[in-house]
Structure formats: C-alpha cells, structure tokens
Symmetry: C2
Subunit: 330 residues, 2 copies
C-alpha cells in the first residue's frame, strides 16, 4: 500500500469542512488507493465541536483514513503536510467594515503562512478557500518566503462550475458538454466569468446566446450566486458546492487537467507572472492547464474583446485595493 499523505484542513469544525472531510476520506481527491492522514486545525473554543467531527470520521470506518490529528496549533496541523485546504476564515460580522474584515483575516493567514513556511513539505499544495480568498492567498504566500509561490492557489472552481452549470441550463445541454469556461480575477462580485472561448458540444457559446444575456444575466448571476443560495437556503451558505469545488480544484491540481473532468483547462487563482498585463504578484484567476506532475501553466494568447478587457481590469483593480489595505502585513 502507498505511503499515506498528510492533508491539513483549517476551520475543520465549520460547515464547508463538514462537507469536505468525508469526501477526502473516501478517496475522491487523492484516489482510492491513497491512504491519508487528516490534520484538522480549529480555534481553541471549537475543539469540542471538532471532537464531534472526529468521532463521526471514526464512525465511518474509512479504509483509507489512517490517522486524524485534531489540534489548535498550526505548527502541529502543518507538520510535514503535503496538501492543505485553508478553509477557516473570519466571516463578516454585523457592522464590520470591509477593511476590518480584510485585516482580521490577514492576521489569521499571515500566521498560517509563517507556520507553513516553518514545517510544511517543500512541495506542499495549499488551496485557499477562506474569503477574501485571493488576498488571503497573497498574504499566506508572502509570509512563507521559503516556499515556491507556485505552492499556493486560491479557489476559482466554484465560480467556474457555476458558470458551466448556468450555460448548460441556458443551452439545454449537460455540464459535460461545456468546455473552456474561464473565470478571471478575484473570487468576489468583481470576478469576470468569460464565455468568449467556451463551447457547448463543440459549438461556440457566443453563437448560441446573445450579448445582452451574457452581460445582463450570465455575468451578474455568477457574480452574485453565493448570496442567492444563502437566501434560498434560509441563511445557510453554499457549503456543499464550495467543498465540491475544493475537491475539483485540488484533484485537478494533483492528477492534472487531462485526467480530470475538465480535459481542457480549469480556472485557478495563481500568482500572476504578468500574463495578460495583470500586475505581477497578485493572486488572480486565470485559465490554466495542469500537467500530470502537478505543474500549472497559464493558458496564453487568448483573444479578448473590449468588454473582456474592461472586466478583467476592474477585478484586477479590486485586488490591488485589497492588497493595499493589508500592505503592512505583507
């Protein structure tokens, strides 16, 4: 049997983790023959609830789950870790300003970046899900200077999959019929879900839908989908679909896009190398390919309409503002 991999999850007693952990333990991300050890980080007051989750994981008698390490110490959680899901983040409280939210999360993620820098496997893959995910990824990466910046990505696959689902529905097609979706920029309401290169059963999406639907229906629906789900679920957030996106993104990052459900490319927020004129160093969602060895390459030279250029700039601008708000912690 293979050597177990160490997989850390933060915010492990929260709702997204509750939808994520049981899928990790069943082999969905790392394969049916890959044993795992779950290293579960929570804040001290939530350790009691985390213990309930640990009991439930034990109550599943998973064959692949060879150990569980619940802890409130990031140095323990990240010790020699191969894969990390940074799920835990402070949600926006009543009366909290945007900058307060950025700042208190920046403190959490700078501490976790330092801990990863100190004890993680040098080839670790860190997927940042906790919001504001892109700026949290930036601060985590900047606080882990000994790790390759390519060890970090922020989650775009929830938006990517939302875009596929909506386009498929509009075209009376299935999710598997849709190819070459792109989400550019920030995982926020400024994101730009782009259909320019998308196809449905091999036919250009933009030949099947009109520009007005794209600009006034498709783009804002994807941008505001999270809030709409919360409304329908009576205040509960989109935990299961977020967890599913984390499964998809980490799986594609691990086995490569050719073997994943998205045989073309996926959207992934990675550190910008200046592609498409996006400022270097920002964590920005691009269309990427991943090799079977886990090497991520930004798809180059895609044509962009004036509308696309404008949308891509706006979401870049928001990322710069977020970065500047927490610059003293970088």
């Amino acid at each position: 049997m293979k050597t177990p991999v160490n997989v850390a999850v933060t915010g492990a007693a929260g709702q997204i983790s509750y939808s994520l952990l049981f899928r990790l333990a069943s082999g969905e991300v790392f394969g049916n023959d890959q044993p795992i050890i779950l290293r579960l980080l929570e804040v001290t007051p939530a350790l009691h609830r985390l213990n309930g989750v640990v009991m439930e994981l034990n109550d599943c008698a998973y064959h692949l789950l060879q150990g569980i390490v619940p802890t409130d110490d990031a140095l323990v959680a990240f010790d020699k870790v191969d894969y990390v899901f940074l799920v835990g983040a402070k949600p926006r409280g009543p009366g909290m300003k945007r900058n307060d939210l950025l700042e208190c999360n920046a403190e959490i993620f700078s501490a976790q970046g330092k801990a990863l820098n100190a004890v993680a496997n040098p080839n670790v893959k860190v997927l940042i899900t906790g919001n504001p995910a892109n700026t949290n990824a930036l601060i985590t990466q900047r606080n882990a200077p000994d790790l390759d910046p390519k060890c970090f990505s922020a989650m775009s696959m929830l938006d990517h999959n939302r875009g596929i689902g909506l386009l498929a529905e509009k075209c009376n097609a299935r999710a598997e019929d849709v190819r070459n979706m792109i989400v550019w920029g920030n995982h926020s309401e400024s994101q730009y879900p782009d259909l320019t290169h998308a196809t449905v059963k091999g036919v250009s999406a933009l030949s099947l839908v009109n520009d007005e639907w794209v600009a006034n229906e498709f783009v804002p629906t994807v941008q505001h989908r999270g809030a709409k789900v919360i409304e329908e679920r009576g205040g509960l957030s989109s935990a299961a679909s977020a967890a599913n996106a984390a499964v998809c993104q980490m799986r594609s990052w691990t086995i490569g896009t050719a073997k994943s459900d998205w045989s073309d490319w996926i959207s992934m927020a990675v550190i910008s190398d200046g592609s498409y004129g996006i400022e270097k160093g920002l964590f920005y969602s691009f269309p990427v390919k991943v090799s079977p060895e886990g090497e991520v390459t930004i798809i180059q030279d895609l044509e962009r309409s004036e509308f696309s250029r404008q949308c891509m700039l706006e979401t870049e601008q928001e990322l710069k503002i977020e970065r500047d708000a927490i610059a003293h912690l970088l």
Copy 2:
C-alpha cells in the same frame, strides 16, 4: 454511456441529505460511469430550501448528474425509481411521547409505501434511514404489497461502522483490519453490536478484549453513540456519518459485499424469515452477504453465547412493541 438510473431521496433539504446528495452525484454509490437522475422529495414548506440545494447541485457541474426533479409529490418522486433513500422523518418534538412519534412517522411511511407500490420500478431498492428506521421499514413494506419484501432494508451500517471504529481504536488497529462485525436487531439503544465472530487482523476480537469491556464499554458506547455525537457537536446530529453509512449500505447492496470494503459480510436490517428464531416479518438487523446481482442472504448457523441470545431477544422485543403501537396502520 449507460442509461441513467433514477434515485429518489426524501427529506432532501435536511441535514443528512445535504451530506448524501453530493456524494451520490459524484458517483460514489453507483459508480463513476453510471449517470443518475436525482428525484428529491420534500414537504411543501421546505421546497424553498430544497431549491437552494438544487442550485448548489447545479453549481457542481457534475458530469454524471443528468437531471434533478424537486417535488413535494411522492408519486412524482418515486416514478419508475430504481433506488430510494427514505431519509425524511419527523423528529421527536418537545413533550412528544414515543407512541406519538411512532404514529406520526407511520403515517408518513405508509403513504410513501403506497406511492412506491404504485409507481416504482418493481426491482427498486428502498433503504430506510429515517427513524424509527426498522418500524418505518416495516410500515413502508406492508403498504407496498405488490413489491417483493426484499426490496426494502433499514440502515444498520452506521452502527456496524461505529462498532468497527471503536474496536479498531481499542486494539490499536485500523478499520480495514476488522472483519465480521455484527449488529443485531433494532437501530435504537436496544441494538446488539456483537463481537463474537469479529476478528482483528485475523485474530478473534474476544481474545484481544475482555468480557467486561465488551458488556460495559463497547456495547453501550455503540448504542448511545448518536446522542454523544450530538452533545459534542453542540446539538447538531451525526448527519455526515449517517449519510456515509447510507452510501456504504446502498453500495454494498448494489455491487455485492465481495466487491465492497466489507469483503466478508455487512449488517443490514431486512425482513426476518425466522432465522435465529426472530419473528417472521419484523425488520431486524442481521449479518448478510450480498451477491454481485444484489441478492441478500442472511448468514446462517452462527454460534451465540447466552449473553448474545439475551441481547438479541431484548431488541426483538422492542421491535414487537413498536409494531404493535402502529398495528392499525399496517
């Protein structure tokens, strides 16, 4: 590509279903090459919340999920259905007596039995998870006289897996090292988790632990595990491990025990044929084998200690009392 199977889930906006649906859609139960259509039943006031779950399922862009039918009409939900998870049940409210609970659930499940009888695929597999699961299975089956009683089972795999997890922990072993666990009887605090035939790495479990631990620790811990998880999770129930057990039981029932993680046998509450002297017609948990075609056989002629006989009788007695309380609905 294979023809899609129709899979119905009741209580589809509830917590167990929230942990179950996304695993069904990912292919965990019916296989990575088996498309499915989810038919989701809820009570009318919960259709709004159910719509939020449907949005999230669409937001996953699952390749295997070829349709979703949300409804408050059992005849729509069960139309030509191949697999059914009866998850929804009325929980015990404040001041509610045990017989009130039995009765109001019996009304729900008798109606669902009639609907299954009218419109389900004659080879349907119906897994009853909603509590009191065994008696709910009885009433469902008795209200579906045109269906083979072997189309119905109540869930025992949560208790089975809890037993494996606890024994593995006690013996410093892994879940995969444990074989031949048995849970007898009712999915309630009267159940009897039996280690008589269990082995750990091929060694008899009873040679590794003492009788006192079995009677005073192991048995009561499995029996009361659900309440303990609720306590640790701050009032939230063991939804994810229950959903996992439903995945395990339906998967083993579909592909057979030889191909499942439990290459020996599983525990499954099925209609008694009088095996081990258990009254015919009761839904009682037995150790069973399942053929690759889905045929369930109760393991026969297992030796039983006096302690085992007594425990098996007590849980049978409880099932008779439950049946008698709702006899007018049978």
